[in-house]
């Protein structure tokens, strides 16, 4: 289903374009973004926690920028694996045009979700994809105009770009899963939080462990 939206950003086109390529901006603006790491000019590895009513799904994957005409248009594509939930692919064709001193962003939204979440969530995939796109481009405006972003409580402060380096994650996962020392975790095997930490498999486990080690020690 082809959906579209528009957003006026009170900033010049170049600034908007730079933000689209700046991991710090993307981390702030992508709804539910938990971690981000720029791999190359076009590719950014990212982990997004999606909240949709009672549904919680954590997608780990990458965001690609393609069909680029500098500061005018591009295509943003996100592909992420969501563990047992399945996987998600979202793409958005973005066009930037001058609107006086501001920039008008017109964007299309297309989403395709595979695995179980796609099977069940079919009814609301498009509206939730549209909502996330609207939120992203809306946040972009607030980010560039310096007004405060709707910060959900409990979200860690943005890691410095380079420190959360996912790339050199140990290929084979550590033997015993590490334990965070806060009172909330009651045992290595406790399904609940362990599920939260390790649910998407080693790749995320690596990420989660690396991040936590960096933060708590």
């Amino acid at each position: 289903m082809e959906l579209s939206g528009q957003q006026i950003v009170a900033a010049p086109r170049q600034a908007v374009w730079d933000a689209l390529n700046d991991p710090r901006a993307l981390y702030e603006c992508i709804p539910g973004c938990e971690d981000i790491e720029k791999i190359s000019a076009e590719e950014t590895r990212v982990r997004v926690a999606v909240k949709l009513g009672p549904v919680r799904a954590r997608f780990t994957g990458k965001m690609l920028m393609s069909d680029v005409t500098l500061a005018e248009r591009c295509k943003l594509t996100f592909e992420g694996a969501g563990g047992a939930a399945g996987f998600a692919k979202g793409s958005s064709r973005v066009e930037l045009s001058d609107e006086g001193s501001a920039t008008k962003l017109t964007y299309s939204v297309e989403a395709s979700v595979g695995g179980k979440l796609g099977q069940i969530g079919g009814r609301l995939i498009d509206s939730s994809a549209k909502k996330m796109a609207d939120e992203f481009f809306g946040s972009l405006d607030r980010y560039l105009t310096g007004s405060p972003l709707p910060r959900e409580s409990g979200r860690e402060p943005a890691p410095t770009t380079k420190s959360a380096d996912i790339a050199d994650l140990p290929r084979s996962a550590p033997e015993k899963p590490f334990v965070r020392d806060t009172s909330v975790i009651r045992g290595v095997w406790s399904g609940g939080l362990m599920a939260e930490l390790y649910r998407v498999g080693w790749f995320t486990l690596g990420v989660a462990v690396t991040l936590l080690l960096k933060h708590s020690f």
Binding site: A84, K89, G114, Q119, I120, A173, R199, G201, F203
Partner: protein
Amino acid sequence: MLTPLKSEQRIADELRYIGAPVPRPNALRLLQGRGVYVDDIVLPRMAHVVYWRSPIAHGRITSFDASFATMMPGVIGVFGAEDIADICTPWVGTLAHLPGMKSPPQYPLAPGHLCWQGEPVFAVVAETRHQAEDALAYLRIEWDELPVVANMERALDPDSPLIHPELGDNLCLTRTIDNGAVDATFASADVVVEESYRFGRHTGVTMETRSVLADFNAAEHTLTVYHSHQAPHMMQDLYSRHLNLPEASVRVICKDVGGSFGIKVHSYPDDFATVALSKLLKRPIKFIADRLESFVSDVHARDHLVKARLAATKDGRILAFEIDDLTGVGPYSVYPRTSGIEGNQVLNITGGPYQHANYRARLRVVFQNKPPMSQYRGVGHPIACAVTEGIVDLAASTLGIDPLVFRKMNVMHDDAYPRTGASGIKLEGLSHDACLSRIERMADYDGLRDEQRRLRGDSVYRGIGIAAMVELTNPGPAFYGIGGARIAAQDGATVRLDAGGGITVMVSVGEQGQGSETIFAQIAADTLSMPIGRVRVITGDTSVTPYGGGTWASRGAGIGGEAVLQASNALGMQLIEFACAVHQRSPEGLKLFNGQVMDVENSAFLSDLKDLASQAYFRPDTLPRDFQPELSATRHYSQRDYPFVFTNGVHVSYVEVDVDTGMVKLLKHWVVEDCGRVINPMLVDEQIRGAVVQGIGGVLFEECLYDEAGLLKNGSMADYLVPMAAEMPDIEIAHIETRTKTSALGAKGAGEAGSAGAPAAVMNAINDALAPFHARVTSQPITPEKILVALGKVKPGRV
């Protein structure tokens, strides 16, 4: 009175059960919640298996790491294709009598090439289902995507991606029929009408999902499989061959089955994987598909695009049909009944009821990255009938002839049999004339037309849809056997007089709720003139019943029933012979009546079967030396006079279409059906009602919605719309009895007539209601949006 088989056989004089609406004795345990389905069975050391299924439609596994998952509580092991490679061999789902059919080898677990969303790839075995699913979430699997074939109309394009490069293209099967002078007839005909018909892919959604409990006994090297299935002997043969076990050491038991409708007549990769794991781990393994995996692993059906045209004269004689059927199946042809039969039947059956002599048809079956497709109740009939009856209605309205009159003019007449249809189908004896006039009276056709005209004045739009149909039943080996599949076309029954004087019937056709056990009891009871309460029927156990084909293609009554009849007859003769030895009488003088042996002339009582049984089993010393009584008889029957015994019927649907919302209200439905001798009118009518509602599901509600990436978007009971009680019409049913001469019983099949004709009748009724607006909808399911688009009230978003 059953027609006597041979002069010397005695069959009871009057019939008490055959033809009567006998309630099903085995329904009582179901009414008390005491049925036994596979999930109800618990065995010692039983483990549960859960499958990791491909989340994408086409790709290749690049990395797999289960080290963490195997550490989880209760996990026994995680297995892939290579772990069971030397336990279960792959298979190919083709039939020799479908020339040129090709399909790649398929494995129980995909060895890396992911071909549809839902394909089983890895197995997690644990003590409990919960633990197995917990571990499933921690499998670390990565894959690369491959281009997806999800649009059947482009699957044969030269630049289309290939699912199996080694096959050269995505074509599974093609076939053409070209009888008579088709081109000349169309060129010279007064009227030619053309139309395309689209059928949405949908599936059976059985209440009980697919269930297997495999128990390999390593000590005795035997395999017992509790299976929710329609053809136990077929699965016994498959497990024996593919797991390299002697057939005698494989036992398949089908106790209560929670609905099957053809979905459970196939073999599935996860069936083979479960059985292989049981052999590998030497312990019982239970696999119960949950509802979500059922939508992406049960066989799908009905995914067709058919272009059709019809040629007729000005005065309304149909001269020719021509169709082109394109059907998109899955990445593998289903084993062992293949994914080619549905399309093959569309070719054989289109135009079935009519007298035309010119018929051309082309079938192309193409592979897609979607779940495999195969037989589901009605198989090709719902497509063939909807195409035929849709284009016949279009011709009638083009010619300005009433659709009922147009059909009466063109159907094969009841006095013109046996004959061969334009597609080559051999027809023993059908009753189109009788059915059409019967339904005309039953539905008060003229009254409906009057009401329809009157209500149009108040801008209320009602429609009357007619669908004449032919239906194949009682298949011989022509269906599968001649193609090399070890699928039995015959069935066997053993009928035994027990020591207590009761009768036990063991027959190879099983019970899935349709009532076959009841009609077998009726047949045995009447043939042996026994009170039905003293007859017990056992089915669904390859170690108990004779060898046979099981339940499919509406053959239960026609084939299984005849086997029971002949076996009961044989036992009856043996009992009379036994009574003659005891009473020193000649066979002509004795008869069986109400569980006793009586004198033919004066009906004098000679002995009760209970006494004869006790004498035979416990006091053989009191019998003449040279006489050994035989108290059980086994007979096998297969229908060999015709490839299939065709029968026929006609549906009428009465609907009201809200032309503002596009919503359709089903007001009433009528069916007149000819299934030969009706053994149990209540059970036959209930088979027809259940099948009609399944047909209504296909024409109005059900579709597996896929996006271009081959991903299912509505795989839950909330979004996949199965028909529920509130929207269904009351269904009135009547029968014409044209008995088949291929058997003494004379019964033909009835299980699929409902789903064959209902979609056509409802589609025609909707288009009849829309006629004043010159709008037609020929894409099923007919959703409100499609009607609004046809009425021009909404632009076509996506069909």
